[in-house]
Symmetry: C2
Subunit: 436 residues, 2 copies
């Protein structure tokens, strides 16, 4: 019967993320924070530790292959919808600023992270110090995207700059990791990595053109009125692009999903397709994504020295991204407020930091005791970013916020009315045409 316990896990995840979201909204925090806390609370880190202490065994939600795969699917859908909501012209317009932001956002954390290592351990090798710096370089943009969506700031100049910078950051991060591994004597071929990245962009162009043509053709040929095929085809395209990005080109799957979203938004029926992923996201995949982040946290036991290192690392990770990216934005002529918002949006770290750390440990460049500080750094950045982001966007335009929420409500109500109409028609049909 154990094979059915995933049903209970999903039930607890859906309920707890929703309740914690509502609570954090009441506390004027972004809902994303609540969803993250739910996984942390019901997972091994809090509930598991408490029950283990008092009952002798862990009575809590546990991470599982199913949950982590569905969480991965969740982040793919988040980035896919972000792609569909992105205005390509604005993104292009933000490209130059984005590049400056991303570059500064990689260089500053790299240098500061390496400096941190030299400060705490005088005997550290250059390769080790640079590797710890590399851990701090990769931004994880999905939390920021969800927070910006919640604040209704996804399609703003700031939002677009963050997106552009995050995309470039991912690519710089790949190159950076390759360089650092090369410095440390790994067997990675930097030329190959660059060829693959260029190949990926070519591939996106070709796939985009093919999808666009196929949709135009389908739109012209299909006299049928059944629209369901479009979201299905769009989702299949997204999954294919995510797979190709990760497996064929070595770029992150979420970049492939994002590119698929942008292509779909520019193709026929793009708006219709975009409208269909809202439900699947909030009803199943997004809660699993957020809860799973919290679930996978296990807090290690640490020495006092390591606690001090952790605190320093958290501060360095936040300040270096905020400062580096903000500086990059200011150099490109953005206002202080906008630069602050952009810098904040780039603070979030994610699983890439763990991947880099894992690689460093495999190469004996990072000591295993640093895994704890890195995990805590990711948690703090993840929770802090949406909270500060909300603050950074507050005040300036309360009215805008309300209007956006209104717009949401209008769509929701129209939705309900449409369903109601549909229901009445089918009732009418039954009454008119009898039970059979």
């Amino acid at each position: 019967m154990d094979g059915y316990n995933y049903l209970l896990s999903l039930c607890v995840i859906l309920l707890s993320t929703k309740i914690f979201s509502i609570l954090s909204r009441r506390a004027q925090l972004p809902q994303v924070v609540g969803a993250l806390m739910a996984g942390l609370f019901f997972g091994p880190a809090v509930l598991g530790a408490i029950t283990e202490h008092f009952l002798g065994f862990q009575f809590c939600l546990h991470p599982s292959p199913l949950l982590s795969t569905m969480a991965e699917l969740g982040v793919i859908v988040i980035m896919f919808t972000a792609g569909m909501e992105t205005n390509i012209e604005e993104l292009q317009a933000s490209g130059k600023v984005g590049f400056a932001v991303a570059l500064m956002g990689v260089v500053v954390p790299l240098v500061m992270g390496a400096g941190l290592m030299y400060f705490f351990d005088e005997n550290v090798t250059f390769a080790s110090a640079v590797f710890v710096g590399a851990v701090l370089t990769a931004t994880s943009v999905s939390i920021t995207v969800e927070a910006l969506k919640e604040l209704g700031r996804m399609s703003t100049k700031v939002g677009n700059t963050i997106l552009a910078a995050a995309l470039i950051d991912d690519i710089l991060g790949l190159i950076c990791l390759t360089l650092v591994t090369g410095v440390a004597g790994g067997d990675v071929n930097i030329a190959l990595v660059c060829v693959k990245i260029v190949g990926f962009f070519l591939f996106v162009g070709i796939a985009g053109l093919a999808y666009y043509r196929a949709m135009v053709w389908s739109d012209r040929v299909q006299a049928e009125r059944n629209l369901r095929r479009y979201p299905v085809m769009g989702f299949a395209f997204c999954l294919f692009m995510a797979w190709a990005a990760e497996v064929v080109f070595g770029v992150a799957d979420i970049i492939g999903a994002f590119a698929a979203g942008m292509i779909i938004a520019m193709s026929p029926k793009g708006q219709y397709i975009a409208s269909k992923f809202d439900t699947i996201a909030y009803l199943l995949l997004t809660p699993i994504f957020f809860a799973n982040i919290g679930l996978e946290v296990t807090l290690p036991k640490m020495s006092y020295e390591l606690v001090a290192f952790t605190a320093a690392m958290v501060i360095v990770s936040i300040i270096s991204k905020l400062g580096g990216c903000g500086l990059g934005a200011m150099l490109c002529g953005l206002s202080r407020r906008q630069s602050y918002q952009i810098g904040l949006g780039m603070v979030c770290r994610g699983e890439v930091a763990l991947i880099v750390a894992g690689k460093g440990m495999a190469m004996n460049l990072i000591n295993e005791e640093y895994l704890g500080p890195i995990v805590i750094m990711i948690i703090v950045c993840t929770i802090v970013t949406p909270i500060f982001l909300k603050g950074a966007f507050k005040g300036a335009d309360e009215a805008g916020n309300t209007i956006f929420e209104d717009a949401f409500m209008v769509a929701d109500q129209a939705d309900e009315i449409a369903e109601d109409m549909f229901h009445r028609r089918s009732l009418l049909f039954q009454q008119t045409y009898g039970g059979e």
Copy 2:
């Protein structure tokens, strides 16, 4: 990188089920048949066998724990939505007929299946013969439900009778399996099974009342206009009921999901919740459910005698259900046409047949060579049922069909208009309040 291949599998499943559905619709077959064929074709049974023959290895989709879990989630959502669309009064009204249909639909296949064994093997023991009969008793209603939805006949008298009969059939099947295992000397306690079944119905009543009260309270207290919580809470309730049914009471999880659906439909915001599961079903879970059925098929090599037995078993399985259930319906005064439709709707067999067979093999009552015939019987019944169902409903009321499709279109269009309104408002908002 293998960890990402599930993305490609999902992509192929979505595309192939959609394309095969469209093709089977063009061929005047129900779309469900296309979706089933897609899994069969791209799975080990066809593409795998072909590639193994020509390339020396299987190049095809493979069943995986992830796919089968998501397929299970798919059938839960199918039965959950069926529950939400079910009119409880009509179901109660169909209860008596349903009981007669289910009883005849268990007794006739049991007797005919046992007879089949005696015909093919004179030396078979009574326990073995009865066990093979028991394999034929359990109806798998989800394929029928999906086919009826597609035909727009879910909420008809015939649809309700099939649902009622299928629910009772599941319970009779449990009792039957217990009895047969008892006859064969197993260690199952029939009194305990009955207590659990009664307990389950009590539990449904209590949980239903609790959910209803909670929703009424929530509806009164909540001044907020955010509606998203309702589908989330509803889905969590569904998952909990499915888990409780399976793990606590030993009833099938889909019965729990169905009960949850009925409870939600009667509670506040039920109609709104029901409207939200359409997308999640057709965009992700239902295609996986259908494709997975086909994927899990592996065709065994069989002797000529076994082929004859298979053919006989397929015929007996169809005729016994159709005859038994149809007779039950006719005895209760339904028309010949309705009885035929009901009998057909009950023909589908599913994983329960395999579970019973597995139990029989574990008890050395069923020879392993009979697994092949049973698998083929399930496939044929699964594919044949929706095809015949469509034929059985055709002709009498073409007009009704068209009107239903129209109603679907109206809802779809209203949906699109609502989304369009929403999109324009946010554009307007951006233009009015600036980029930030």
